[in-house]
């Protein structure tokens, strides 16, 4: 049980990544594919956070003098995740605007019907 508890974050994050990959590979609606990319992003961010997480740890700020460095979570992955979220949002924004333009050209978001070029 304790083994399960200490690895649960990793299981969750890789589960999300795999669900996202499945959605991207299987679904043919572009918006669903974009949702899949978003799921992958979320899974990756969760993974990065889990890397630096300590059970019952607090924020790395010396708010109380009694707090020991061992009780603090690693702040670097959190900074990474902040950057990764921003990057993910810009990719999603661009993807959605591309989807809108694609709908304007084809009148559909079904990737099976959008194949003027060789997919």
């Amino acid at each position: 049980m304790s083994l399960m508890e200490s690895y649960i974050h990793y299981l969750g994050s890789f589960g999300l990544i795999l669900i996202g990959l499945y959605v991207v590979l299987v679904k043919s609606n572009l918006v669903k594919v974009i949702i899949g990319i978003s799921l992958i992003d979320t899974g990756v961010n969760l993974f990065l956070i889990s890397v630096g997480y300590i059970r019952m740890g607090t924020a790395p700020i010396f708010s109380r003098t009694a707090i020991a460095p061992e009780e603090m979570v690693d702040p670097v992955p959190q900074a990474l995740v902040l950057t990764a979220i921003v990057i993910g949002v810009s990719v999603l924004g661009l993807a959605l605007s591309v989807a809108i333009r694609l709908y304007g050209h084809y009148g559909t978001l079904d990737l099976r019907k959008i194949r003027d070029l060789k997919w």
Binding site: I40, A95, W119
Partner: protein
């Protein structure tokens, strides 16, 4: 003495300024990329001699590596930075006339962001920073592929974006893995401790990183996006994507495999994958009737040869690979730029519609021919010394496997020769197709703003081809920068 940070900061800052300038005036933004790249070229050339002696380590936040994000402007990084700013400058001059009407200031801002990202990728010494610059490069190239908003452009942008986003996520998982193992993101620091963890962890993280960055590097089988993206983008963007963006991906993969991991064991695999990429690219290029798709597939072939040469892992092999990086960047940029106006005048991308262009547009056709011959590897053009170095490096391994592989690789070159000769024959010895010439202004040569960069590239290809020593004397230091892991760690960490 200036710090290499301004090589990234100036294009990045000017990119945001460009959109503001676009509100003030219609004409100003298109000159900004050329100014920024001219500045970068001058600074890179001035920094190059110092970087050749020892890598310039730029600190941020007053902390020395490995505790902060740092740039490592080594011989290889500065050499590629010179190449990026040179090619970037020439394409920016070309775009002043070519992108005259249309997307406006957004195009020029995105173009600068792309170049800032590429420069950042080759100069950074921090793994997460590498990822961030890589994303700047990728996101701006997704947007640039679709920047005209036409049907094929948007479709290929969607395709490129989906594949690129998955690749980036994989790379980020790999980076998270490494941080979990080592608690640091400095490439030098990771490299110095890589032997202390289990081979399985090393393998998983490396597989994730190489796959992630390999998508942008167009290594087979991760290159399905490339032919569409390169053929649907405006010609100036195809040129920068083929010439620079792919090389940034290859650089990231090479830096990770050689410097961070020092993975000698997978290099045979790398060579075989490179050869597969070469064959797939050249075979597909041969059967194309669309000139820009053909050039895009030919880029895949050339990338395959570069990856093959990197997989040789000898100093000579890496030198040959780097030579080919430079020669392919120049030649492929020239091919896309010179076909840009030919396609514009002919109104079609079909190879048959370009027949007879040798008489209508003599300068563009001659330059196209020079670049095509250079890619095939004919002397006295720049492609010849590169291919020669790679072949002699493969033979110097004195290994039956590599001899067989390079023999198969040469077959790819024969195919390459066949399709390029066919196009050049069409340009000069075939009559123009029926119905052409009705369009007024069709017989006119490209404007001066396009001819200047085209001719400069052609002269550079011939000049370096005649006298390769101007390039080869930097290659030794650049190859050592990539291969000599211990020296890299020593320079960055100062131990």
């Amino acid at each position: 003495m200036v710090s290499p940070i301004i090589l990234i900061a100036v294009p990045l800052g000017l990119a945001f300024l460009t959109t503001l300038l676009g509100l003030l005036s219609e004409k100003l933004p298109k000159y900004v990329p050329a100014v920024a790249m001219a500045f970068n070229l001058v600074v890179s050339i001035r920094l190059l001699p110092r970087a050749l002696q020892s890598p310039i380590v730029a600190r941020t936040a007053g902390l020395s590596p490995p505790f902060s994000i740092h740039l490592v402007a080594g011989p290889l990084g500065m050499m590629l930075s010179v190449l990026i700013s040179l090619v970037g400058l020439l394409i920016a001059i070309y775009a002043i006339g070519y992108m005259g009407k249309g997307p406006g200031s957004r195009y020029h801002a995105l173009y600068l962001l792309l170049l800032a990202g590429a420069t950042g990728v080759v100069l950074t010494g921090d793994l997460f920073n590498l990822f961030v610059f890589f994303e700047i490069l990728c996101i701006s190239s997704y947007a640039l592929v679709g920047c005209r908003g036409d049907k094929p452009g948007i479709e290929s942008a969607a395709k490129y974006l989906i594949q690129g986003a998955i690749g980036s996520s994989l790379a980020l998982v790999g980076i998270g893995f490494l941080y979990g193992l080592f608690g640091t993101l400095s490439m030098a620091d990771i490299a110095s401790n890589i032997a202390s963890v289990s081979p399985m962890a090393v393998f998983i993280s490396m597989a994730l990183l190489v796959t992630g960055f390999g998508v942008e590097g167009a290594i087979f089988p991760l290159n399905a996006w490339l032919p569409d993206a390169h053929s649907s983008a405006p010609s100036s963007i195809s040129a920068i994507l083929s010439g620079i963006a792919i090389k940034a991906g290859i650089y990231a993969v090479a830096r990770i495999v050689f410097t961070v991991y020092g993975a000698e064991a997978i290099l045979v695999f790398v060579a075989v994958v490179g050869l597969l990429t070469l064959l797939v690219g050249e075979m597909s290029a041969f059967s194309q009737s669309n000139i820009k798709r053909l050039l895009a597939y030919s880029s895949i072939g050339q990338v395959g040869l570069i990856v093959f040469a990197l997989g040789l892992a000898s100093v000579r092999g890496v030198e040959g690979a780097l030579f080919l990086v430079v020669s392919h960047a120049l030649a492929k940029a020239l091919l896309f730029l010179s076909t840009g106006y030919m396609i514009y005048r002919a109104g079609s991308m079909e190879i048959s519609s370009l027949h007879g262009m040798g008489r209508k547009m003599p300068v563009s056709s001659v330059c196209f021919t020079i670049a095509a011959f250079s890619l095939i590897g004919l002397p006295p053009f720049i492609g010849f010394p590169g291919k020669f170095m790679i072949i002699s490096a493969a033979l110097a391994k004195a290994d039956t496997l590599f001899t067989v592989l390079i023999a198969i690789g040469l077959l790819g070159t024969v195919v390459e020769g066949a399709y390029f000769f066919r196009i050049v024959q069409g340009l000069y010895f075939k009559e123009a197709p029926e119905g052409a010439g009705t369009n007024p202004g069709e017989d006119v040569e490209a404007p001066l703003s396009a001819l200047v960069p085209i001719c400069v590239l052609a002269v550079a290809i011939v000049a370096v081809g005649v006298c390769p020593c101007v390039l080869t004397r930097y290659l030794g230091a650049a190859a050592a920068d990539l291969l000599d892991k211990a020296a890299y760690i020593r320079h960055v960490l100062g131990v």
